[in-house]
Amino acid sequence: MAGSTLASPTADAAPLGSASRARYVSPARDTWRRFRRHRLAVAGLAVLILMMVAVALGPLVWRVPINDIDFNAQLAGPSWAHPLGTDDLGQDVLARMLYGGRISLAVGLAAMLVAVVVGTIVGALAGISRGSVDTALMWLTDLFLSLPQLPLLLLLIYLFRDPLKQLVGPELGVFLLIVVVIGGFRWMQVARLVRAQFLSLREKEFVEAARALGATKWRQVVRHILPNSLGPVIVAGTVDVAAAIIAESTLSFLGLGFPPDIPTWGRILFDAKDTLDIAPHWALFAGAAIFLAVLSINFVGDGLRDALDPRKVM
């Protein structure tokens, strides 16, 4: 297994030295080697990449405008002119979904970044400092864990939506608000994981060695402890993307997310639910897109968990 060390130098140390250099596998490659064994995770990754390419390049290929109103084609089912049908104003659902997908996926990624950055900072601070700082930060984490998240999300968006809209414009304002608020309610898991990793890593020999060599606390954390505690954080971050996408769709579905002219997947579902009986395709495509994205991300997270778990020998 890569990374194993011999207890003592033996007679064949010289050939082994050159051979082991040739067989050196970087952590990323090693992870990929393990990740590949999880077939569903690889499939999930493929679907995810496909979706990202579709929303990134799709609008360049499928050049139908998202707000082209056509009352002759109201609520039409899938056809060659409109592969995913049209909505109640005769707007092309495919074009709207490609555009909305950008926002949904961007919200997911950005909220994950917020959660991971905040969580890592809180967890690292708690893990490296003992005593009252640690206690206070962990109390804060537990408090956030027991907050009723969706009601508070709705409350915050209700209270701060209009002022932010006036401040930075409707689109960016709502985007920032949703990202910060969703990320601000999802950092606790990361913080706990990072703290747990820090508590065990800071007593390890390599950190002690760095300390003995005179590394400052900052250097110990940034160069030695943090890189070694990233595995669980990556897994938690992946799952957070899925959770953030669901959270954003939920907000939009309740009519409190993005305004109607920004058709995120949740918003499309919200608009479509009243005509479910005559135009089920409208709701089904948007819902399926959310489901597919979330399912693939969850599978990728599961594959990463298997690949990054050092206890598991493959």
Binding site: L143, P148, L154, L159, T250, L254, L269, V294, L295
Partner: protein, 319 residues
């Protein structure tokens, strides 16, 4: 056990205070006076507005306002709904039972699915059953509740005409038919919530049982000649449930989120749909009170989890 319970109750007080502090901070930081709907109305003359501000104490220091708000909340004086023109606590007491029934029965459904399926797949890891159950569980908790709700309405109400898709608070019938109609209209919301929870709990149960089943005392129990079924139910499951209870208690806020969405989809007249409608109508006292009730419910469930710990593992209770 009583002392343990009392201690847990005392620990719940600071978290309740913390939550109320968070709620109040949000309110205080929010631009404008969310409570000042009346005071900022242009039809109200400025003197009246100023008198109102003074009466409700908007110009007092923040800590004083927090204390006053907290005392009022604890007294059950939750204010007056701007829209419905009734006291907020009456509104909430009307709506709360429906929410609790829907959430409660969905949790029972989730438990009924998750326990047997999780235990069965953990006793046969990587078998065909395990793989199918695992994939289904993944699909189950990747399906957002709002999409499952729409799918259910589409299939069971629109195509099959089996179930009503609007939940009615007052059915206007009595006797057995009332129970039957209640069951029919609650079936879809409960199933949506229960299946979602059941899917994620199945995975918790499975991994917890897998961790326990390899331990030595399980081998000892088998070696003593106890039947496999008794080994699993008496020795494995009871110990495996301890981490599961933790995870379930931690996921409670998520359950309430799901409940809000389901109530909205099926128009269940519970406090979740009350929250949404009052947000859309800018009815601040109701919004604050419902959020606070949700917070209390989360803490209540955490307390229940603590009591369950004491029952599952008596060592915890006597520590």
């Amino acid at each position: 056990m009583t002392r343990y319970l009392l201690r847990r109750l005392l620990i719940a007080v600071p978290s309740l205070l913390g939550i109320s502090l968070v709620l109040f901070t949000v309110l205080a930081l929010a631009p404008g006076d969310p409570f000042g709907e009346l005071a900022s109305n242009p039809n109200v003359p400025p003197e009246v507005a100023a008198a109102l501000r003074a009466k409700f104490g908007f110009d007092d220091p923040v800590w004083l306002r927090y204390l006053r708000w907290l005392v009022a909340m604890l007294h059950g004086d939750w204010g007056f709904s701007f829209v419905s023109r009734v006291d907020v606590d009456r509104l909430i007491w009307q709506r709360l039972p429906v929410t609790l029934i829907v959430i409660g029965s969905s949790q029972i459904l989730a438990l009924v699915i998750a326990l047997p399926v999780g235990v069965f797949s953990a006793t046969r890891p990587y078998s065909l059953f395990d793989q199918i159950a695992n994939t289904l569980a993944f699909i189950g908790f990747s399906l957002p509740t709002f999409f499952t709700g729409i799918l259910f309405i589409l299939v069971f109400s629109i195509y099959l005409h089996w179930l009503p898709f609007v939940f009615r608070g007052d059915l206007g019938i009595t006797g057995w038919r009332w129970y039957w109609e209640e069951f029919r209209q609650a079936a879809m919301p409960v199933a949506v919530l229960g299946l979602f929870q059941g899917a994620s709990w199945t995975r918790y149960v499975r991994s917890a049982v897998l961790d326990v089943i390899r331990l030595d005392y399980v081998t000892t129990a088998r070696a003593k000649g106890i039947a496999e079924f008794a080994v699993v139910t008496k020795h494995v499951v009871r110990n495996a449930l301890i981490p599961v209870v933790t995870l379930v208690a931690l996921s409670m806020p998520l359950v309430f989120g799901g409940a809000i969405v389901t109530e909205q989809i099926f128009r269940v007249p519970g406090i979740g749909s009350l929250l949404i409608s009052s947000i859309l109508a800018n009815d601040t006292p109701v919004i604050m009170a419902v959020t606070f009730v949700f917070a209390c419910l989360v803490i209540l469930f955490n307390l229940t989890a603590d009591i369950l710990y004491g029952w599952l593992d008596p060592r915890i209770a006597y520590r």
